[in-house]
Every structure is written in C-alpha cells, then in structure tokens.
C-alpha cells in the first residue's frame, strides 16, 4: 500500500465506478430494449480487471472473455466506443459487428474479448511470444473464468508459456460459478491457483474484491514477466453480483445460489472496500469519492447519448472487414 502512488489509487476508484455505472445503465437500457443479444454484467468483479490493468502500460496487451465490459474499460478503452458497440453502431469499437461479447480496442492493446470460453488464452500467450522473439518488454494479460480453467486451451497455453518463459499473466476470475455450476462441481482441485505448480510457475490466490491486493499481485507478476522470468497464474476470488447474462431470464438465482450467499458477498462490494481504504489512508474524503462516482456516471450518460446518436452501418458494410487484402466475394 505504501508504495502505491495516489494517482493509481484514485484511478482505480475511477475505473471501478466507470465500470459499475456502465453496467448498471447497460442493464437498464438493455431491459428497455435499446439493444438485444446477450450481455454479461461485471458488477461485483470490478476490482479484478481494474487492479490488474493498473499494473499495465498502454503498450501492454490484454485479452478477455464473454464477461467483457470490465476488461476494456479497466485498460482505458474508449467508453463511447464500448457503448456504441453494444448499440450496434458504426462508432462502436467494432463498427457494430462484434457487440457485447466481442469488445476490442486495438488502439490501446485490447486484443479482444472472446465469446468462446478460454479461446483467447492461447492468443494472449502468442502476443507474449512475440515480445520474447523480438526482445521487447511488453507483457500480456488474459482474463478467464473458473469454468474456463477446465478447458484444454488453458493447459496447453500455461505449459507453453512456462516452457518458453513468456511474459503472460493468466488471470483467472474465480467468481464461484460458471452459469449455474459451482466451481466445486467443475474444478477438481481446491484452488485453481494450485494448478500453477503443474506448470512450474508461481500461482497466487488473491482477494478479488480488493483492488489494492489485485494491483500488488499483478504488479509482481508483471515485474517477473518483464524480467524474462516467465508467466504467473493469478486466481482472483470474486463474485458475480448479478445473473450470468442479460436475456437469460430462465435461470433464477435462487436455483443455484442462496440469497444469503449473494448478500454476504455484496457486503464485500469492491467499490466499498476500496473507498474505505482510500478514506482510511486519508487519500480521498467521502465527498471526493462521491464526486468520482458522479463524474463517472455522467461520463456513462454521455456515452449513451453518443451511442444513441451514432448511425447504424450501411448495408454495404456487411462485406467490409473480412480481409486485410481483399478478394472478390464468391
């Protein structure tokens, strides 16, 4: 805590509030029918991406998964670009072609979110491979879930990264469930971070509700990676406050997790935790914290206005963006 700059401590609060307001409003406008398709709220898990990305430079890379709004916003991606993408407009990150599950802002190293679980893990490993081959110092971080950790892609990537000492950080967001499946019913080991031993790499178990803890663990892993010492597996213990996905009404919380359990985790809301830290250490006052929240709320409103006013793609755009070196359509 001592050796963390005030700037970073405050920025983490700003980004958590940004994500929180973004997600709350997304749930509202989605249920109001302003756009359709699945969307997976990151509410409750903000400290994970925010703490990890606070340890990164703009020249570092991240890749993520279907729970996709928090990662790019934590890395500093454009809020307007993210919102416009959800609205399916031309000013979205992906010109409306990707949508919620495929947010990506390559301009600041966001290599994209993957709807197919664990599928971005080898990709992020490859970005790190490029750093090693070229002798450059950038690192890459990949966010994936507890459920995803059971995919072969994770095993193959972790083995490869450790063998070749690649500067990649495997960041497992253990929010306790994969849709309705408890990780105790899907992961055969107690802590996913224990699996790091199977690849001879450090495995770290972190309180994912505490941005400072996330930042410190990530900074350590980034240091290792930049020093050429190889990958780290970080397991962040966190919790999904909302349901798995918007538009999956069929699954009711009560059916697979109790109100009590949800309630207890809500007491450890990552934003409350971090604000308390800032206040206790005299870094911000309650009023200043509230001002941060208000500022981010209006940033999100601006993004919604922007998105609403952004045009939809033109029919001809359908055939654009398939190829870097175009070929005739069949």
């Amino acid at each position: 805590m001592e050796n963390i700059s005030k700037e970073i401590l405050v920025q983490m609060l700003e980004r958590m509030w940004l994500i929180r307001h973004f997600e709350v409003r997304v749930m509202e406008v989605h249920s109001a029918g302003e756009f359709t398709g699945a969307a997976h709220p990151y509410i409750g898990e903000e400290a994970v991406a925010v703490g990890a990305c606070a340890a990164l430079e703009d020249t570092d890379y991240i890749a993520g998964n279907h729970r996709s709004h928090g990662h790019p916003l934590a890395k500093g991606g454009s809020v307007k670009g993210a919102m416009a993408e959800l609205y399916g407009r031309v000013d979205g990150y992906c010109k409306g072609k990707g949508g919620s599950m495929h947010l990506a802002d390559f301009s600041i190293g966001i290599l994209g979110e993957s709807g197919i679980v664990a599928s971005s893990v080898p990709v992020a490993t490859g970005a790190a491979l490029a750093a090693k081959i070229r002798g450059e110092k950038f690192v890459s971080v990949v966010f994936f879930g507890d459920g995803a950790s059971n995919q072969g892609a994770c095993h193959e990537s972790m083995n490869l990264a450790s063998l070749w000492k690649l500067p990649v950080i495997f960041l497992c967001e253990n929010n306790q469930y994969a849709v309705t499946t408890s990780y105790h019913d899907s992961v055969a080991v107690e802590h996913i971070s224990d699996r790091a031993a199977a690849y001879n790499m450090p495995g770290v178990l972190v309180d994912g509700q505490d941005a400072v803890a996330m930042y410190e663990a990530s900074r350590e892993a980034v240091k290792r990676a930049r020093a050429g010492e190889g990958p780290t597996l970080i397991e962040a213990l966190t919790y999904r406050f909302e349901e798995h996905s918007l538009g999956l009404g069929r699954v009711r919380r009560g059916e697979y997790r109790t109100e009590d359990e949800v309630g207890e985790w809500r007491l450890r809301d990552p934003i409350l935790v971090h604000e308390q830290t800032l206040i206790d250490h005299g870094i911000l006052t309650r009023e200043e914290c509230d001002a941060v929240s208000a500022a981010k709320a209006s940033e999100v409103e601006e993004a919604i206005d922007f998105a609403r006013n952004s045009p939809y793609p033109e029919p001809d755009d359908l055939f654009e963006d398939m190829w870097a070196d175009p070929i005739p359509a069949p």
């Binding site: 990707g98 059971n150 072969g152 309705t180 359908l318």
Partner: protein
C-alpha cells in the same frame, strides 16, 4: 394421440420418452440440470443425478466421454451449441466419425449430439454457427435438421435408438414454433425420407431447417403471381433423400435450394451438384442457391438480417428460374 407443442418442448418430450423407455440412455451437458437452454426441463427430478449430468466446461473431454460410454453399452445424449463443437472437433472427427470404420466395424457408437444453432438474434460471430455442411463432408455422422416440432421430436427419438453417431442440428430460430406432435413410437420419424411440405408443379424449392418456413411463405407469394412451387424439406442431410428431390425436379424442371449455412461448400452446393449430374436433362433453368453470405455473423441487427436467406430472396430466385 397427437398434441400441440412448440419445437423446444418437442425435444424435451423426446428425451423424456426415450429415457423412460431405455435406462441406458443418459444426458450430459453444461447447466442442463437447470435447463439453461430449455430442452432439459424436468429431467433431473425425473431421472436423477446419475442420468442427468452437468459437466465442467470441457467439451472435448465430455464429448469424448460420451463416445467411450457409448462403446460399452450406454446411449448418451449430449447437449451443446454448434458453436461449442469447434473445441471438441478432435473427439467428433477422430473418434466419433472414424472409429467404427477404422476398427473394421467392431465399434458401435450410439451417441447423439444435440447442437443448437443460435443465429438471427444478435449472437454475433462466436455463437451463430450453422456448421452442418462441414460435418456432411466428413463421413460418419448421421445429420438431422428438423424444421418442425414433429420432426424435432421424431428425429431425435429415432437418433437415440439409432446405433450410429448422430448430430441433431436444432434450429434456434424455430424454438418457439408450434405444431402437432405424436407420442411414443408413433412419433418416430425415419431417416432419409424427405417431407414434401407443399406440393407444386412449376419450381422445386428445397429448404433446410429454419429456411423451411421461409420457403413456405415464399411459395404463397409465388402462388399470387401464378407460380406453383413445391417445397421439399430433406429433414436429414445424411442420409439424403435424393429420390424425392430428383423426382420433383423431373416434374418442375426448376430448382432453388435454400440453406441458412454459408453458401460455399454448403448443403445447397451439394444438392445442386447432385441435381446437375443426375437430373441434368430435366432442368429447364439454372439451379439457384439461396444461402448465407460468405461473411461472419455481424452483431448489429441491421447487418445480420442481410446475411441469411429470406422469403424475399427465395421469391426472387424462384422468379428468376421462371423467367428463363
């Protein structure tokens, strides 16, 4: 006795009836105990944890486990989405499809993969696959594409009783479609028998899965301008009922094939190639393919709807064959 049901209910009933009938049938998939996708509602209560398995997120692992179980006498039904089959292609291709032939007929694999195709609803590129043509190219799977509740139930029941690997490509755009279904053995639908969904004399429209209702709407429009269209639903692509298609073209001399899959090397391509070889002399006009554009599925609805076949596109294609 017949009753009314929607497509997803018909699937649920097929599973229940076959699990009741044969204790070697069990079902596995992700979050099926709580029926996240709707087709497995009530199975846990009825059949218990031993026969209704929630799996970890490891498709290659549990698709393969289903194969192994089927080899030793079980009849697994696996629930998945088409888009999750890519991670399991190892087990699907190298084991399920090839095993029986490779081992000289020693292996018998009565395994059924229920793969839902979610497309048309803003699911974007990662969740909208219509991949049956790729599986048609690989020998070893019986490939079913039900377009009605009756066929969704009947083909699944037949698949569960069949002794070869079957893939049921369930069309998500039809989940809510209603229709009449039978119960018990009366519900069984044989493989390799196309359904003439509408009789006609001027042009043959072969339509697959979600394209069938489009083709029927198109046929009504065509009737308005005095064009009589025959609509054929193959129902199973492997085996394919060539006879019914060839006979129809023999009558009409014109063919439009409508396929929600990507058009290159599609089921439509295959059917067109068969007709151009085996019914060439009956043809009075070029064979028209109406299939998905060769791009990925864009998220934004304004673009997504342009990708797939539509009643309008079918009408235009059918008219074009008549103008010749």
């Amino acid at each position: 006795m017949a009753s009314n049901a929607i497509y997803i209910e018909a699937i649920n009933q097929a599973i229940i009836e076959e699990m009741e009938r044969d204790t070697s049938v069990f079902i596995m998939g992700e979050d099926i105990r709580r029926s996240v996708y709707g087709a497995t509602a009530g199975l846990l209560d009825r059949f218990g944890e031993n026969r209704v398995l929630d799996t970890p997120l490891s498709e290659n692992g549990f698709f393969g486990a289903a194969i192994g179980a089927s080899l030793v006498g079980m009849r697994p039904v696996v629930e998945t989405l088409t888009s999750f089959m890519w991670v399991a292609m190892d087990q699907l291709v190298s084991q399920a499809a090839k095993m029986r032939y490779m081992f000289g007929g020693q292996a018998t694999l009565p395994v059924v993969y229920r793969a839902t195709m979610f497309y048309g609803g803003g699911s974007a590129a990662h969740h909208s696959d219509r991949s049956y043509p790729m599986f048609m190219n690989m020998p070893g799977f019986k490939i079913l594409v039900p377009a009605t509740p009756r066929d969704a139930k009947g083909l699944l029941k037949t698949a569960i009783r069949d002794n070869d690997p079957c893939i049921v490509f369930e069309d998500g755009t039809l989940s809510g479609a209603a229709g009449e279904i039978e119960a018990g053995d009366a519900a069984l639908v044989p493989f390799g028998v196309a359904d003439v969904a509408r009789e006609g004399s001027d042009v043959t429209i072969v339509a697959i899965a979600g394209a069938v209702p489009m083709a029927l709407r198109a046929a009504e429009e065509l009737e308005a301008d005095g064009i009589s269209a025959e609509v054929i639903d193959p129902r199973t692509l492997v085996p394919l009922d060539k006879g019914t298609i060839l006979d129809s073209v023999g009558k009409t001399g014109r063919l439009v094939v409508v396929d929600p899959a990507h058009k290159v090397c599609s089921a439509a391509s295959e059917i067109a190639s068969i007709v151009s070889e085996e019914a060439f002399w009956d043809l009075q006009a070029p064979i028209m393919k109406v299939a998905a554009e060769q791009v990925h599925i864009p998220y934004t609805p304004v673009l997504e709807r342009l990708v797939y076949p539509s009643a309008e596109k079918v009408v235009t294609a059918a008219r074009a064959t008549m103008d010749e």
